[in-house]
């Protein structure tokens, strides 16, 4: 064990002596955590509206007013012709154009039917879908207002109606940050952890110090463990730092227990670092190990349910997510932080991640050769 202790001492000294690493390790995540959650918001808030009103009547004006007062839309363009309004969409000034034809008021009141034309910039499908839905909803309401005005509506509603009530559990303020911050923390830990670990052994290879290790009696597992543990300590530090920021800046406090997160994180980091070390044993240059670890980590991050829901993925992709350690951590983070899930609830995830940790580290140790071919 003395050998291991010596290895750990050496690694720690090297890390502490490199100021850029410590800076990057803590400042970068902090900056990311401060900026990312603010940016990572899918919620569509305001849609830019363009209006072409050929009618210029009280009714058309009321419609436009109603749309604007809904709060979903911002009136950004009021063009006299449709082609001009289209230009506004083309130049990203507006997202949606409402064209009110001439005789709108007259057709509605006298002919009982009036058309409206809505054109939507559909490049962002979600935005377009929501925008269309919102404006439809407002137009319906407006329509009902008109009907109410002209028809005698009996007080007692003769038609059966179903009232739908909504309850939002676990995030009553529907705050996207609460949802994203834990996930972003996981992503940062993964990127930092794996790229560090991947870089490390290769660096010694490139510098030549690894030969001296190979020619000495240091055992393989001592060597790998000697690399693993210091990074593990650092990563846990970054995790703590991240959780502190989450609490101080965003007021995010886990509904569950911190200890559960730490237990899972401890094992998760072993898995991720092990993965990085494994890559390191295969790579010949730092450039290589970096790009490979980056590539794989990026794909795994995308396929983890962090940015897009897993249920929406096709079968084959969902299967891949099952083999992705990040998926499990994201699940656990959200479960423990937002829903108060406990150790018993995350049992299966813990087993899975334990499996990954054993798998990667064992492979790394086996693959590392002190003696080449």
């Amino acid at each position: 064990m003395r050998t291991l202790k010596l290895l750990l001492q050496k690694e720690l000294i090297q890390i502490v002596r490199d100021p850029s690493i410590l800076r990057l390790l803590f400042i970068m995540p902090m900056v990311q955590l401060l900026i990312m959650p603010l940016a990572a918001d899918y919620e569509i808030k305001k849609i830019n509206l363009g209006v072409v009103d050929h009618d210029h009547t009280q009714y058309s004006q009321r419609l436009v007013d109603k749309i604007i007062s809904s709060g979903y839309f911002r009136l950004k363009d009021y063009s006299p012709t449709f082609p001009k309004a289209l230009q506004a969409i083309a130049s990203d000034k507006t997202d949606l154009v409402l064209e009110i034809p001439t005789h709108f008021e007259r057709d509605l009141i006298q002919e009982n039917k009036a058309p409206l034309l809505v054109s939507i910039d559909a490049i962002n499908g979600i935005k377009a879908g929501l925008g269309g839905a919102y404006i439809q909803q407002i137009i319906q309401e407006y329509n009902q207002d008109v009907r109410d005005q002209w028809l005698q509506t009996p007080r007692f509603n003769p038609q059966p109606t179903i009232e739908v009530t909504f309850s939002d559990w676990y995030n009553p303020n529907m705050n996207y940050k609460v949802f994203m911050v834990p996930g972003i923390l996981v992503m940062l830990l993964t990127i930092i952890g794996s790229s560090f670990a991947a870089n490390n052994i290769v660096r010694e290879k490139e510098m030549g110090t690894i030969e001296q290790i190979n020619v000495s009696p240091i055992k393989k597992w001592q060597f790998i463990l000697g690399k693993l543990i210091p990074f593990w300590i650092l990563a846990m530090g970054v995790l703590t730092f991240g959780l502190i920021i989450a609490r101080l800046v965003y007021g995010i406090v886990p509904v569950g227990h911190y200890i559960d997160i730490y237990i899972f994180a401890a094992i998760y980091l072993l898995a991720i670092l092990g993965f990085g070390l494994l890559l390191s044993t295969y790579a010949q240059t730092q450039q290589q190990s970096f790009i490979v670890s980056f590539f794989i980590t990026m794909i795994l991050n995308l396929l983890s349910g962090l940015f897009t829901p897993i249920e929406s993925m096709p079968q084959w992709a969902q299967i891949i997510t099952k083999f992705n350690p990040i998926t499990y951590f994201i699940e656990v983070m959200r479960m423990v932080m937002l829903k108060g899930s406990g150790l018993a609830d995350i049992k299966s995830q813990i087993f899975a991640i334990l499996g990954f940790a054993v798998f990667f580290n064992t492979w790394a140790i086996l693959n590392y050769r002190k003696r080449s071919g």
Binding site: R2, T3, L6, L7, Q9, K10, I13, Q14, R17, D18, M207, G208, T209, E211, Q212, N214, V215, S216, P217, I218, K219, K370, R371, S372, G373
Partner: protein, 248 residues
């Protein structure tokens, strides 16, 4: 008198695919010898040494180091040998003392012994008071001498040196070789590869490798007589003319 053989090699061969880097070499090294492996770049010296150190698995042939078999007792061998390569093996971002502590420690020296050795080493290299200097800040010559001293800090039976004096001035080279002599006097066998022919004259015996084969094996004096020349350079030029492989 039969001196104890610390290294034996019989038909030792290393092939990389179609390329035979080391071609059936056979030789012995006696205890306490300073044994030189000479040859041009690409002749196979480093490859041969790496097989003996346990860094590379031989393709065929046999070899023993300190009485242990290189195939099966590889890890045991590592406890008994020291090594210094042309690329630096010391950690640049650690101090002299930290480097000594690390390497001495992994070879099993106890803390008090390490302390003792550190003081001796610093004195020997005229680096007293400098133990807290980062290796990165040492001039090249000092780094090399330090590397060597650390390579033998655990009193190994054999120390392997791979082109140890590349790039230093002649004075430092001489100082380096006096360190080697001291080690040899203590009973440490020194196995050194080099392409500096003048260093050959410092060795007890040398081999000259050409195209992966050993083309000469004897003391420098004998070789110079055999090839009728007054310097090892002369010996080498005659042998090297036969070389098929160009150096890298």
């Amino acid at each position: 008198m039969e001196k104890e053989k610390v290294i034996t090699a019989k038909e030792l061969t290393k092939r990389f695919g179609d390329f035979t880097a080391v071609d059936k070499i056979t030789f012995d090294v006696e205890k306490g010898e300073i044994f030189g492996f000479l040859g041009a770049n690409g002749a196979g010296k480093t490859t041969a040494m790496r097989m003996l150190c346990g860094l590379s698995l031989p393709t065929s042939g046999t070899a023993t180091v300190a009485g242990l078999d290189v195939y099966k007792q590889n890890e045991l061998i590592k406890k008994r040998i020291g090594y210094m390569s042309q690329k630096f093996s010391l950690y640049e971002d650690l101090t002299i003392r930290e480097n000594i502590r690390f390497y001495a420690g992994i070879y099993g020296l106890r803390d008090d012994k390490i302390k003792e050795k550190t003081n001796i080493l610093l004195k020997q290299l005229n680096l007293e008071g400098q133990e807290k200097t980062l290796v990165r800040d040492l001039p090249l010559g000092w780094k090399q001498k330090l590397s060597f001293s650390i390579a033998i800090v655990h009193d190994p039976a054999i120390v392997f040196l791979d082109e140890p004096t590349g790039g230093v001035d002649p004075i430092t080279r001489r100082e380096f070789w006096s360190l080697i002599y001291e080690a040899s006097a203590k009973g440490i066998t020194v196995f050194v590869t080099t392409h500096y022919m003048d260093e050959a004259e410092y060795c007890n015996r040398v081999t000259i490798m050409v195209d992966g084969r050993i083309d000469a094996l004897d003391s420098p004096a004998n070789l110079m007589k055999e090839y009728d020349t007054t310097s090892m350079d002369g010996v080498f030029l005659q042998l090297a003319r036969k070389a098929v492989r160009k150096g890298d």
